[in-house]
Symmetry: C2
Subunit: 339 residues, 2 copies
């Protein structure tokens, strides 16, 4: 990437908006007014619920510009929001993007940031319909708000899990956290196993199509795994007033994660349970519906990891010896010190 000499001071806020506005509409039939007016105006699909979600990413807290390119950062800032829409069983339609940037930010940085956002928006036919660009005294802050839609009958909440349901996930867990660990240790460019982990961390893939299929198939509860399996299982248990029993042997771990965990000296399962930012989906479903789903969609990479039990049992992890351990929510928490 070649950084141009231009910095934001030279092109100003309105020059920046003109730059941003290009290639933001991927589903023109839904957009009456896009970027450039006081607000965007969009056409909703009749008889659908509207979904709204937001995530804010703060430099040094959520990302480090030493280890992510601005293009990857833009991609991820949108991805984490599309993942939240996916976790409700919905289809993402539009995003609104606010960015705070130091005045000295190179124009090329902003172009790359939006290139990443535009890439994922194009991939999912999502429109960028508005936002705000402001100056920051220190550090980059990005807020993305996503608007999506879902048929009322397909809305999946965290609170619908039933005793007897299976508990399953949509793919390998722990990759993202191990990728972060490798980035932080500066030990990854020499190892083939590291690349997919680093990619899982820097450019996660929201499970949008899978989320819709699971919703239609009758998932009783669903959550995207942003804070680690342990934390999300506890979230569903709390919201649904049930317990969850997970089987350590069933939790899907990639061979790359196993290799990285040896390098980093931390058990692979720890990354899956407490690492976070996998953006796979965790869901519960009645066993008969789950069987129908597997038959109808053998290509779906869903893996059963446990089942729903009574609330009194809490959230437990059964180890290889068959012993059950209480599983605490120990995902990332913004206002607590790490233990």
């Amino acid at each position: 990437m070649v950084f141009l000499i231009n910095e934001l001071e030279d092109i100003g806020e309105f020059g920046l908006i003109d730059l941003i506005r290009q290639d933001t509409i991927n589903d023109a039939g839904r957009v009456v007014v896009g970027i450039g007016d006081d607000a965007a105006a969009v056409l909703p699909t009749p008889r659908q619920l509207q979904l709204l979600t937001a995530d804010m990413l703060v430099e040094t807290v959520h990302f480090n510009l030493m280890t992510t390119t601005p293009r990857q950062l833009g991609y991820k800032a949108v991805a984490v929001n599309l993942s939240d829409i996916a976790a409700m069983g919905g289809v993402p339609r539009h995003v609104v993007v606010s960015v705070a940037l130091p005045r000295s930010t190179p124009t090329q940085f902003v172009i790359e940031l939006y290139t990443g956002m535009k890439a994922i928006c194009k991939e999912f036919s999502v429109n960028i319909v508005g936002g705000d660009t402001v100056s920051s005294p220190q550090g980059v802050v990005i807020n993305v708000t996503a608007a999506g839609e879902v048929e009322p009958a397909n809305l999946v909440r965290r609170s619908g899990a039933q005793v007897g349901d299976i508990v399953a996930v949509t793919g390998n867990l722990g990759n993202s956290a191990a990728g972060l660990g490798l980035l932080a240790a500066g030990q990854w460019e020499d190892s083939a196993f590291a690349w997919p982990l680093v990619a899982a961390h820097l450019t996660p893939k929201p499970q949008v199509r899978t989320g819709q299929l699971l919703a239609i198939a009758g998932a009783s509860s669903m959550d995207d795994i942003s804070d680690g399996l342990a934390s999300e299982a506890n979230e569903i248990a709390k919201a649904s007033q049930i317990g969850i029993r997970l089987h350590a042997d069933s939790i899907p771990l990639s061979p790359e994660l196993t290799a990285a965990s040896a390098r980093l000296g931390k058990p692979a399962l720890d990354y899956a349970l407490y690492g976070g930012e996998d953006f796979q989906l965790l869901f519960t479903m009645a066993p008969d519906k789950y069987q129908v789903l597997l038959s109808a969609h053998p290509e779906l990479p869903v893996i059963k990891v446990g089942h729903v039990v009574g609330q009194a049992e809490g959230v437990t992890l059964v180890d290889q010896a068959g012993r059950a351990h209480r599983l605490e929510a120990r995902g990332f928490n913004h206002f607590r010190q790490e233990e």
Copy 2:
């Protein structure tokens, strides 16, 4: 205000979310899922367009905690977004709020911040349906995204102004900028005239009901005055490909502004033209429709300030001697140095 000993480290992110969630729903019939799931789910009004807008406020750039209380800050962060919905002729329905806070932030600060947000949301029957709370290495950042609705026939864009239309505003201009000037100079607590100006700056009132009336009355273009009259007139002129002739004598200035401008040594008109953050509405309308509006709503505080002319004439200000001056957009621009 009594600051408690608790800081955010003590209650954590999830304790914080429980605090925030109270009193967030003012229009329950529209909310299927509020704060606490991956995304909110809301019921749109059939056959209306959905409006989306976002504003990000950054400490030291947009506000100074030496001169605003957290409650005022929360109020304003929502107000500026409702103003954008008003400028499209719409009704605000929901907001999604992201806040980045230093870990050392007192819990009471957060409670007060949300108290301000909840106050204005209650005033306008708006729901707080979601958001994100994250830590910040330095300084508070707030992003509010507002979702609103408008009948397609009542949508007002910036681009519809026609030659011959009148140009009008919904109230006094310059108050907010003069209030900011007084706050910055530390000269306001001793002067009765200062209080309404400071209030106009710290807790601006979005012109939501007026915006809807103007839309129904047939406003051909509309903009909220966030960057000063000069800047907004240029925005409408550019979007509508017309010119605007404003009359200096007609621009409504409050007696308080006149008093403050004497104190601050800067012409009152400068605050109105270049000051910004008034959050009054600037609109254009066919003269016959404007007469009907005035007859039907004599209580509306609208003031005619000029009219729409051909594009070749540009945006001008006619002074008391009848001389026309080119009016440049000199509102606040985030990435240019001040002249």
